[in-house]
């Protein structure tokens, strides 16, 4: 059964698609923020951090200034902690300039229920008071359970609740791709 499911993988974004999407998101962020001077990018571990670094690099190529990029671990703010065994924590790294008065762009790989982003907003609250918070995701697969929507989307991928979205990035997985499998369990 497991082997049969492995063949069910359907590629929805190739490495080139991902590169184009991150570059476009970088342009959109700069356009909306009218520059990059007050921006802070915070990735949600683990793949959100890699994406945030890529977007940050693209923005600095466009605007010619360094954009602070950090990481925001949301494990301790999750609403499902009591439903699973304790999870190991990931690193949180807030850039030296802090986030007060700046425009924070949260970056994650997949937007699904929206609960991760709710936790991230709670975590941000304990770090400081940004002027605005935006959300960039590589894939929006729908099925929101909270009133949260992304500002920048790499690709909207309508999925059924039974499908799984697999984002693979060079930094963590050795290659860039987004695939969908129809597995019914993890």
């Amino acid at each position: 059964m497991a082997a049969a499911r492995a063949h069910d993988l359907r590629t929805v974004l190739t490495g080139d698609d991902i590169a184009r999407a991150t570059r476009r998101i970088a342009h959109e962020i700069v356009e909306k923020a009218k520059g990059a001077s007050d921006l802070v990018l915070l990735g949600i571990p683990t793949r959100g951090v890699s994406l945030a670094q890529r977007i940050g690099l693209a923005i600095s190529e466009i605007e010619g200034i360094e954009v602070p990029v950090g990481a925001l671990d949301i494990t301790l703010y999750r609403d499902d902690l009591r439903l699973q065994p304790p999870r190991a924590l990931e690193s949180t790294l807030i850039p030296a300039g802090g986030i007060d008065g700046r425009t924070v762009v949260l970056v994650d790989d997949v937007l699904f229920s929206g609960r991760t982003i709710r936790a991230a907003l709670d975590a941000l609250n304990d770090v400081g008071r940004p002027a605005a918070v935006r959300l960039a995701v590589l894939v929006d697969r729908g099925h929101r359970e909270l009133p949260i929507r992304p500002d920048y989307v790499g690709k909207n991928i309508p999925t059924s609740g039974l499908e799984q979205v697999h984002v693979r990035l060079v930094e963590t997985d050795g290659a860039d791709s987004v695939e969908i499998s129809s597995a019914r369990e993890a």
């Binding site: 301790l76 703010y77 009591r82 065994p85 304790p86 924590l89 949180t92 807030i94 609250n125 304990d126």
Partner: protein
């Protein structure tokens, strides 16, 4: 992991998970809002039958930083001084809905009894029992060594640690030996023969009576407190002699390698096992040990209480 009773119960992965989690907790403690919502609605009882300031405050702060409710239960002035048994105290705490009990008891094995007697459903954390164990102290010591030694890479394999003093009555020494052995460090215990427990040759460590021979070969030296009440028990002739033979003064400190650190679980007896010069020197990491204690206890409470309870509860 449901309870933390002995440093010996932790395998390498479990110990490293606690230490890595503690590092993340420490990073979060640097910011202006130090509180995390993780244990909201959980109740932690500090059940302290024996006096302790720093361990109790450390656990209290750790629980509060994770938003747990904390109840401090000291044996003095409680129903225990009226003769209540550990069982009845435990049943009372259970009725009040304690999710975790942090226990310090004068009897070795009291936390084990509390955890295994089916009196309470929550987690039990050993905060020091008699002359047996003090696992969170060993964890914070290991955490402190990871930060200071091997350029902060966190690898303790092959690190050499000297533990000097009253090994016989020390729960800190036992927990440290067990944990450091798990993490691959090499421990040498240094004490007069009268202050070494029977069966010490079974412990996974070396033993020496000569502190001057050990100091040049260690990366960290841990000085243990000599308790005043032991003086009457004739374990050594005079405090002065003990201090001369086993105390760490400035001259002895200079025998240590350049990078070595000096540790002490506290409270210190300045002038007895450690001189003021050493205690105030740049190598002494006692103040940091206290700060690290909070991070390590946050990690332990998170890993015990932060997830789902085991099935069947």
């Amino acid at each position: 992991m449901r309870h933390l009773l002995s440093a010996g119960d932790l395998d390498r992965d479990a110990a490293l998970l606690i230490l890595d989690t503690a590092a993340e907790m420490a990073a979060l403690s640097d910011r202006s809002v130090k509180k995390l919502p993780t244990l909201r609605g959980r109740t932690v009882v500090n059940l302290f039958f024996e006096d302790s300031t720093r361990t109790r405050i450390s656990f209290e702060l750790a629980a509060k930083r994770l938003s747990a409710d904390v109840i401090n239960f000291a044996a003095k002035g409680s129903s225990v001084s009226k003769g209540e048994s550990l069982k009845d105290t435990a049943l009372t705490l259970e009725a009040m809905g304690a999710d975790a009990v942090v226990i310090r008891h004068w009897d070795s094995g009291a936390p084990y009894r509390l955890a295994h007697a089916d009196w309470i459903g929550g987690s039990v954390v050993n905060a020091g029992d008699g002359t047996h164990e003090h696992p969170t102290q060993a964890l914070l010591d290991a955490y402190t060594m990871r930060r200071h030694l091997r350029d902060g890479t966190g690898a303790l394999e092959g690190v050499r640690v000297g533990i000097v003093g009253d090994i016989l009555h020390s729960r800190v020494a036992r927990s440290n030996v067990l944990l450091l052995q798990t993490l691959g460090a090499e421990v040498t215990l240094v004490a007069p023969p009268t202050l070494l427990p029977i069966g010490i040759e079974q412990w996974p460590c070396d033993v020496s009576y000569d502190i001057d021979a050990v100091l040049p070969n260690v990366d960290a030296v841990m000085m243990l407190r000599v308790q005043a009440e032991r003086m009457q028990d004739a374990y050594f002739p005079t405090a002065r002699e003990y201090s001369r033979l086993y105390g760490l003064d400035g001259e002895r400190m200079r025998l240590l390698p350049e990078h070595a650190i000096v540790m002490h679980p506290g409270p210190m007896n300045r002038g007895m096992e450690i001189s003021a010069e050493v205690a105030d020197s740049a190598r002494a990491v006692m103040v940091e040990q206290v700060a690290n204690g909070v991070s390590v206890r946050m990690a332990v409470l998170y890993l015990l209480l932060g997830g789902a309870k085991e099935l069947g509860e």
